[in-house]
């Protein structure tokens, strides 16, 4: 597939090896510190911060200007249980996924349901780079330069009926390609959902690439959802079906642990996960933890969607 970008990224900008080495440098320092502290030689409180310098030169209205997480980390530290439950399993196993040919069905309560080949599905849209924060429910975060297009455009093309209130997404189900699906750890295939107004929000995109390249399989190739103000698991990967429905979909994680994962799953430092606090997060590549922001720092753009809602109840 040919990926057209608004502003082609010069090869000189792609993963600078120095970054990689800088990261090693802080790891080395952190290692020394940890070792010294264990030995009781140093008082705690010393810090070694990562030096990551890659960031977007001309951030758009939806971009964060924070330094990007390294390509290496983004593509080797993944939660994608279809390829194993370890963080490094997806990078090891996702080569089994065949992303071509790939079909996507748009169906349900809409006037123009259709089945698309991936290329045809993507063709009408202009790809743009969006640098978003990604906050995992487990308490770590990244900054990722996605390549994609607003989901709203797909929705407009499908012409949802007035009765459509939610959008439901489904990941591919094929245990041969996705060996993790052979284990009954979740109710496969993976299902996620958004309220229609959330799906139409300009921050919500379908991504087909990152770092100016095609999406690696372990990151949800060939096409995935990105909803930056919600915990990472809402951003469903390797999508084969988009369906307009009237009732709130029951997502995979709601089914697996209804007390721990709600439908909304907005990033919220004030609502703890039952087993851990959500107040802070570790940005991958950084040593100190940072405070988690309401709606992952996108409150100005999205808080109005939840006006008057009790976010403790609708977690």
């Amino acid at each position: 597939m040919l990926i057209r970008t608004e502003t082609p990224i010069p090869s000189s900008e792609i993963t600078d090896e120095r970054l990689y080495w800088n990261r090693r440098e802080w790891l080395r320092q952190a290692g020394l510190l940890a070792g010294a502290a264990v030995a009781g030689l140093l008082t705690p409180g010393c810090r070694a911060e990562g030096k990551q310098v890659r960031r977007k030169a001309n951030p758009g209205p939806y971009d964060t200007d924070e330094p990007w997480t390294s390509y290496d980390d983004i593509t080797t530290y993944n939660n994608f249980y279809e390829f194993g439950t370890g963080k490094r399993d997806p990078a090891r196993n996702a080569h089994r996924l065949r992303t071509r040919p790939w079909t996507i069905r748009v169906e349900g309560l809409c006037h123009r349901p259709a089945t698309y080949e991936l290329e045809d599905f993507v063709k009408p849209y202009t790809l743009e780079e969006r640098v978003y924060r990604l906050r995992c429910v487990e308490g770590w975060s990244m900054v990722i330069p996605w390549l994609g297009f607003p989901l709203a455009e797909v929705i407009h093309r499908a012409e949802p009926m007035a009765s459509a209130k939610f959008v439901e997404f489904t990941t591919l189900y094929d245990p041969e390609q996705m060996p993790g699906q052979k284990a009954p750890i979740l109710d496969w295939p993976y299902v996620e959902g958004l309220r229609l107004d959330e799906a139409l929000h300009p921050l919500t995109i379908l991504a087909v690439g990152l770092y100016g390249k095609m999406l690696p399989n372990q990151n949800g190739a060939p096409i995935r959802l990105v909803v930056p103000w919600k915990y990472g698991f809402k951003s469903i990967k390797s999508i084969v079906r988009i369906r307009f429905v009237e009732k709130q979909p029951i997502t995979t994680w709601m089914k697996a642990a209804p007390h721990e994962y709600g439908f909304y799953s907005n990033v919220n430092p004030n609502v703890d996960h039952p087993r851990w606090s959500q107040k802070t997060e570790r940005r991958i590549g950084e040593f100190r933890k940072r405070k988690t922001l309401l709606f992952n720092g996108y409150a100005d753009q999205v808080a109005h969607l939840y006006a008057g809602m009790d976010l403790r109840k609708y977690f």
């Binding site: 790891l27 080395r28 290692g31 703890d272 107040k279």
Partner: protein, 212 residues
Amino acid sequence: MRRLTPWLNGLIWLGVAAPLLYLSWGLWMDRLGANPIQEITHQTGRWTLRFLLATLAITPLRRLTGWNGWIRWRRRLGLAAFFYASIHLLLYLWLDQFFDWGEIGRDILERRFITVGLLAYGLMVPLAVTSTAGWIRRLGGRTWRRLHRLVYAIAVLGVLHYWWAVKFNWRPPLAYGLILLVLFLLRLRRPASSRPVVTLPPQPLSKIRSEA
């Protein structure tokens, strides 16, 4: 068995040090993934449990092999468990909470896996402190043995801590729990020939001393 002892001794030293060496090497070489702190936290937690189970395997091993020499390594394995548990706890207090005692207190009260984890560690401390020959003498064999039965509670709490901490993949904690159960069951049938009461107090004491 006697001829094998030096080899076993070296092997057990290696086994005790290997996780630390591996984690240090991994940190140095950047082989622990994108989130090395969490990786080390998880690994040290698992190694704590493994060494606890190894400690509890000594008695069944003595019965099964009919060789009492295993006892000489029990203290080392127990202290290894304590060592990895200390790193595990320190990483939580320091790099997870940055010594925010208010937050740590809330964690202890609100999250049962933190509660039992910390309780297990708290119970390990007196056992580590009294692990020396001097303390065995001071306490007397009977009291010392009674005190060190806390290890059973510690192991149960440790497995529970792991069980409650995992997100959904309950299989590894279940495996540890089952091994622990087997180690407990092996203690139920106690052949008269190898009652630990007879072998424990004065005899291993001298062994420990001569070893040190």
